[in-house]
Point group: C2
């Protein structure tokens, strides 16, 4: 049921690899669902360019659109970000150990027994 192959993962990470798109996500999170023009007002960029960014976000599943008259209301869809957090999770112990200053010890331990 979970179609999450590397392709979907790839689209999400690629979508996040652009500051404009991350800013769009922030705007949708802080200001709620908005039409395209309202979003475009925050950027020094022509509206068609923003439309393409919205398409990348849509194909990554990070936003959804809902038609309302002649407007398209874009809404944040955060579910793919949960998968990013899942991806991040196995790394968590590494930066926590690092902060405690225990990292160097573990880093020299591939898989063998100290005696």
């Amino acid at each position: 049921m979970n179609g999450t192959g590397t392709a979907a993962e790839d689209r999400v990470f690629a979508a996040l690899a652009n500051a404009t798109r991350r800013e769009v996500l922030r705007l949708l999170r802080e200001c709620g669902p908005q039409p395209v023009q309202a979003l475009a007002d925050h950027f020094d960029m022509r509206r068609p360019s923003l439309s393409e960014h919205l398409r990348v976000l849509r194909e990554a599943g990070l936003v959804s659109e809902q038609r309302s008259g002649r407007q398209r209301i874009y809404r944040l869809e955060a579910a793919p970000l949960a998968e990013v957090q899942d991806w991040l999770h196995p790394y968590e112990r590494f930066w926590r150990e690092r902060l405690r200053g225990l990292g160097d010890l573990l880093d020299r331990m591939p898989d063998d027994d100290p005696s």
Copy 2:
């Protein structure tokens, strides 16, 4: 002390936007610090190409290198991933709400009942 501007953030997200580089991070996490050749063996790619990926990861602060003879031992540096998690955090309540909402929706789904 924390030079984390948008530039550093941008480098981290851009570094993660490539499946090969994410796989390098996984290898360093699961198998520990390794020289370049050992990493390159896992990819269908010439070694210089992997070297460039390692440079991107290094400039994002995600790996560090330690010279040992004629080898360069690469090690995972997970600290920038903690910043990604920080970036992710304000979105968390959105996907939790969404999942709960989806659960409620499915509970009330009347016309989807296979077998």
